[in-house]
């Protein structure tokens, strides 16, 4: 067995890695914003925003990501008469998906903060906004970190499912190569190593941040 296949495979996978990273980073970033807003709404007492958030979370949690991707790629453009490229759909699907799960994480973290913290801060003359940013969010963020990173990891893996709508991320690039070359063992082993390295970096970052916050 030679390793000359790497000459063609590696450049393809590096190409795919770029797209995987783009979709994962943008998707998770937007998802974190959505999740923070919805999580905040969920623990508040505005019935309208709560209902909106709950409905969104329900739809995302109760449908498979692959179906959401297919829907976004094939159905939404027809319904709205617009054009959507697969990368855009991919980012949106990852964002909406991670956003739904992050909402629950954020809600739990905010509800986990002792209400006495807020009362003490208010009694010192702080505004609601000051209480939120200086007193509630720091410990809530610390408490949410493990679950958040868990979701980040899942979202990175979820990008592999986007191969179904021909997003040329790592997995899809690998599949293309394997289909042409029949080198399945080599290809999928290399892909696995790519993900292993990528996610290990994320895990190391998580451990670093957690150590710093202690």
């Amino acid at each position: 067995m030679t390793i000359s296949f790497l000459n063609t495979l590696l450049p393809m996978l590096v190409q795919g890695l770029k797209l995987t990273l783009l979709i994962a980073i943008l998707g998770i970033a937007v998802g974190t914003v959505i999740g923070s807003l919805c999580g905040y709404a969920l623990q508040g007492n505005n019935r309208i925003t709560k209902t909106v958030a709950n409905t969104y979370i329900w739809i995302i949690r109760a449908t498979p990501l692959m179906v959401q991707a297919l829907y976004g790629y094939f159905v939404i453009p027809k319904l709205l008469g617009i054009e959507l490229d697969s990368t855009t759909v991919g980012i949106m699907v990852i964002a909406l998906n991670s956003g739904a799960f992050i909402s629950e994480i954020v809600k739990g973290a905010l509800l986990g903060i002792d209400p006495g913290q807020k009362e003490a801060s208010l009694s010192l003359g702080m505004s609601n906004l000051q209480v939120m940013f200086h007193v509630i969010i720091p410990p809530a963020f610390k408490a949410a970190l493990p679950a958040l990173f868990n979701q980040f990891i899942i979202s990175v893996k979820d990008t592999a499912l986007l191969s179904i709508i021909t997003v040329n991320e790592i997995t899809h690039m690998g599949q293309n190569y394997a289909a042409l070359s029949f080198k399945t063992i080599e290809t999928y082993t290399t892909i696995a190593i790519f993900y292993l390295v990528l996610l290990s970096i994320l895990i190391v970052v998580q451990k670093k941040i957690e150590r710093k916050m202690r």
Binding site: D114, G116, Q117, E119, A120, S121, L122, S123, L124, G125, M126, S127, Q130, H134, V135, P138, P139, K142
Partner: protein, 248 residues
Amino acid sequence: MMNIMMRVCHLSKRFGESEVLKDINVNIAEGEVVCVIGPSGSGKSTFLRCINRLEMPSGGTIHYRGENLVHEAYDIRKFREEVGMVFQRFNLFPLKTVLENVMLAPLLTKKGTKSEVRKIALELLDKVGLVEKAHVYPSTLSGGQQQRVAIARALAMQPKALLFDEPTSALDPELVGDVLEVMKNLAKDGMTMIVVTHEMSFAKEVADRVIFMADGYIVEEGKPEEIFVAPKEDRTISFLSRVLPAAG
């Protein structure tokens, strides 16, 4: 005649069906130390929390500096900057050091520059005997030390008055003394204080006036020697007979 600082008139509070405060009338004078005693569930905490509007009263008025603060339009933050509160469970900020705990509110409410606020904070920590703990985190302190930090934190706003809700009830008995000592010194310095407490000896020694509450009413009030030695109302008598060690 002393100056009246707060006038509470016909204050009431209900939670749904249950009426927790019924008709509270009381004036607090400048420099006065008022201790509030009474059985569990009588509405003592709710009374304090209505004063700084952690709970919105259902009725009545509370006048402070000529303004009624029982009013959505009243900017309660002004009042809270001037009247601090100390809680049973301390409620220190766990991710901030002792010094940061004391400095946070004065900085956010622009009570001074960072170095001014820091100087005052360190003086206050010295006053409560904890200046050497300035840079540690609250979780490393005993309950009594945490409560003294909480008092310093309230004092850092340079308040005109302080509300205490059972400040020593969560403490091991041997730690109560240090906290009461700090409070006695505040009283001596002329701080206006409303103290909900089960520490009858503290009330006897420090209070200018004792208020006995039961069932959402002020049943009886008077100087400590009146309330503790010659209570008039049956409810006061039976409550005191339960909480005071038999007279020797």
